[in-house]
Amino acid sequence: MTQDPENDMALAALLKAATEVEPDFPTDLLLRSYAIQRKHQFDREDNRETSMQDLKILLDAVVEAQGGTAQ
């Protein structure tokens, strides 16, 4: 899937919002999270959890890479 803020108003709005409220948030992570949502945007309600699970996997991987302490 192409990610082109020029032709995708939602993505452009997301990138702009990041610079306003969380300027240090990694753009790559934001783009990957958006790609997940874009892919699942028209999922039916009974399939609603899929995008959340994909996003969770993505965020867990980021945390894992940061090397935090697990209890």
Binding site: D8, M9, A10, A12, A13, L14, K16, A17, A18, E20, V21, E22, F25, L29, L30, S33, Y34, Q37, R38, H40, Q41, F42, R44, S51, M52, L55, K56, L59, D60, V62, V63, E64, Q66, G68, T69, A70, Q71
Partner: protein
């Protein structure tokens, strides 16, 4: 996406096979399907909607039950099969999508939708796709959420006017549909998903912190707020379900009541008409009584001419008799005077003494008068008779009110005509009202009003719960901030996940507002451009959008035009559709059912010239009154790729035929 063919079997009025081929030449990209009302234009739109999304919709966008989609004539003949198939291309791939219905194996004669079984199949480049991939494939080029912008029902035009009314239920629904088409749900889902992960991470964080010395208090506070949030969210979910259910029930009642509104009106009218009938009868009775009074004397008018002559004649006789009486009395008086004079020798007039000569003359005169008197007989009896006859005639010839009778007759005749009309109206109204349970309608009305009150109450509860939720979320965010500053907490994986998901939720939340603003500006610009092409009023400078995507017309000074005609509403709605289509989705066909209902020829011409330039395929289902084949298509001739005509075979059977151009 480019549509190629649509075929069906026993779908709605199309008994047996039906097939149409869409024009695929980009220079001749317009297709017209002509059909009178109730012949099956909307059924064609529904055939497309049903094959793509498995649903067909009727009035007020209500879904038509599957059972009702089966052709009734075919079903009567025992044929319980139905199928719709569409072929199309997208991104260089060829597709065939097919939906088939048959009665279930154990059912002898279906009587409801549950007795039928639907099977769906899709082939991509001649290879069958597994069922679970079909939805995502359709969503790539024609997601259902955006379908109202390419499968366009003329009846929906009215709905777009609702966008100008803030807070109306209809406007909320359309706003939602518009935002779905424009990609807002992508960001909303991103925010919600990040929020769900955040909540889970916060719970884990609480558990982790309880195990770390010195952070138990934070953990407990965090846990308290999480429990509160969970509980409020459960309440909110339940309230929202109840609100939806109450709203749906109320809308269903609204639909039922709309159908019975005519009955209710008829009932009211019947009461009024019966009152009018009663008054009419009373007025007639009064006029008839007046007429009787006048008719009692009216015979006199018939004999009046004869009696008048008779009276004149009697008057004459009376005058003669009176004159004779005067003359005789005069003679009698003269005789008496002369006799007295003869006795006293003095004149009775001057008192002078009479001489012999004069006495002799007086004697002679007396004799003459006495002789005359003998001939002067007056018939007193005749005089009395004539006088009494004259008196009687005078009575008879007194003026009467007979002249009023024709006027009364006129008024009575008018009332009788009205009475007949009222009688006919009552008969018709009785036919409508007969057998209808007006008490049930009254019950439904009362229930509908109760549901409106209930919805208001639930909405208030939702508002209160939401405010409470916001408060706990704010407190939780404060605790997160505190934990951020504590190195032990910060090092926890759960804390890191809280931080990252919290930041992500914040970004998505902000982006939703930003996108909505950007979209409004973009839609306003695109719709204004379309509007200027479509309107015949050159002085209008464009359109202004509100927070619901409702559009108002701006005049040459940039002032809002507050009063606009039904035709102008339609042009604005079509401009919005065009603006949304360009702002929100990739190019695809536009199929419009009865879109020109209110428009004058010039506006129709503008639309017919403009739309083919903004869409790769334009399919119009119209009736002759909307698009005249000879006058309206003059400028469109070269763009027309196909023309079809729907013909009625019977009220439950239509067929479609290609027309040679």
């Amino acid at each position: 996406m480019i549509l190629h063919t649509l075929t069906s079997s026993n779908f709605m009025p199309y008994k047996g096979k039906m097939s149409i081929a869409f024009p695929t030449n980009k220079d001749q990209n317009v297709m017209l399907v002509y059909g009178d009302n109730m012949r099956g234009k909307t059924s064609l739109l529904n055939a497309l909607r049903w094959v793509f999304y498995g649903k067909a919709v009727g009035r007020h966008s209500r879904e038509i039950p599957l059972f009702e989609l089966m052709n009734k004539d075919a079903a009567l003949e025992g044929d319980w099969s139905m199928e719709v198939a569409a072929t199309f291309e997208s991104d260089g791939h060829r597709y065939e999508l097919r939906r088939t219905v048959n009665k279930r194996a154990y059912v002898a004669t279906p009587s409801r939708s549950e007795d039928l079984e639907v099977v769906r199949a899709m082939r991509k480049d001649d290879i069958a796709l597994p069922e679970h991939l079909i939805d995502s494939e359709i969503n790539r080029f024609a997601p259902e959420q955006t379908s109202r912008f390419f499968l366009f029902d003329g009846e929906l035009l009215d709905e777009y006017e609702q966008l100008l009314i803030d807070g109306s239920e209809q406007s909320k629904k359309i706003k939602e549909a518009i935002e779905q088409a424009l990609g807002v749900p992508t960001l909303i889902r991103g925010r919600d998903d990040a929020g769900t992960i955040l909540k889970q991470a916060q719970k884990q964080q609480s558990l982790d912190l309880q195990k770390l010395g010195g952070l138990e208090e934070h953990a407990n506070k965090q846990k308290f707020h999480q429990t509160q949030i969970d509980s409020i969210e459960d309440d909110l979910a339940e309230l929202n379900v109840r609100l939806r259910s109450v709203t749906e029930e109320r809308m269903a009642l609204d639909d039922d009541l709309e159908k019975t509104e005519a009955l209710y009106q008829a009932k009211q009218k019947l009461t009024d008409t019966k009152a009018a009938e009663y008054k009419n009868e009373a007025d007639q009775a009064q006029l008839n009584a007046e007429r009787l009074v006048h008719i009692k004397d009216a015979w006199r008018e018939i004999v009046r001419p004869l009696l008048t002559i008779k009276r004149e004649h009697l008057h004459k006789e009376n005058t003669q008799l009176t004159e004779q009486m005067f003359a005789r009395n005069h003679v009698v008086t003269q005789i008496a005077q002369l006799k007295e004079a003869m006795k006293s020798d003095k004149c009775q007039t001057c008192g002078q003494s009479l001489h012999e000569k004069e006495r002799a003359a007086a004697g002679a005169l007396l004799g003459t008068l006495e002789s005359d008197l003998l001939g002067m007989k007056v018939n007193q009896a005749s005089f009395n008779l004539i006088s009494s006859e004259i008196q009687a005639l005078d009575k008879l010839l007194k003026p009467t009110n007979a002249a009023l009778i024709p006027q009364l007759d006129k008024q009575i005749a008018k009332l009788r005509v009205e009475q007949t009309q009222i009688g006919n109206a009552i008969e018709k109204l009785n036919d409508i009202v007969q057998g209808q349970d007006t008490a049930e309608i009254a019950r439904q009305r009362a229930k509908r009003d109760g549901l409106i009150r209930e919805a208001t109450r639930i909405s208030e509860d939702i508002k209160t719960a939401q405010a409470n939720l916001d408060k706990h979320e704010k407190d939780l965010a404060m605790i997160s901030k505190v934990l951020q500053s504590l190195p032990t907490a910060r090092a926890q994986k759960s804390t890191q996940l809280v931080n990252i998901s919290s930041a992500l939720e914040k970004i998505y939340a902000r982006s939703i507002d930003r996108l909505r603003n950007d979209l409004k500006l973009s839609v306003e610009r695109l719709a204004s451009a379309a509007f200027k092409k479509l309107t015949t009023q050159g002085l209008y400078s464009g359109l202004r959008i509100n927070s619901n995507y409702g559009l108002t017309i701006l005049d040459e000074r940039g002032q809002e035009v507050t009063v606009r005609s039904a035709g102008a509403e339609q042009i604005v709605a079509l401009s919005l559709i065009d603006g949304l289509a360009h702002a929100g989705r990739s190019a695809g066909p536009v199929v419009m059912d009865t879109p020109f209902g209110r428009l004058d020829p010039k506006h129709r011409s503008n639309i017919l010239s403009y739309l083919p330039t903004t869409t790769p395929q334009l399919v119009l289902f119209v009736h002759e009154g909307e698009v005249n084949r000879t006058t309206d298509l003059a400028g469109l001739g070269s763009k027309i790729g196909a023309v079809y005509e729907i013909q009625e075979v019977s009220p439950r059977h239509s067929r479609i035929q290609k027309v040679t151009q």
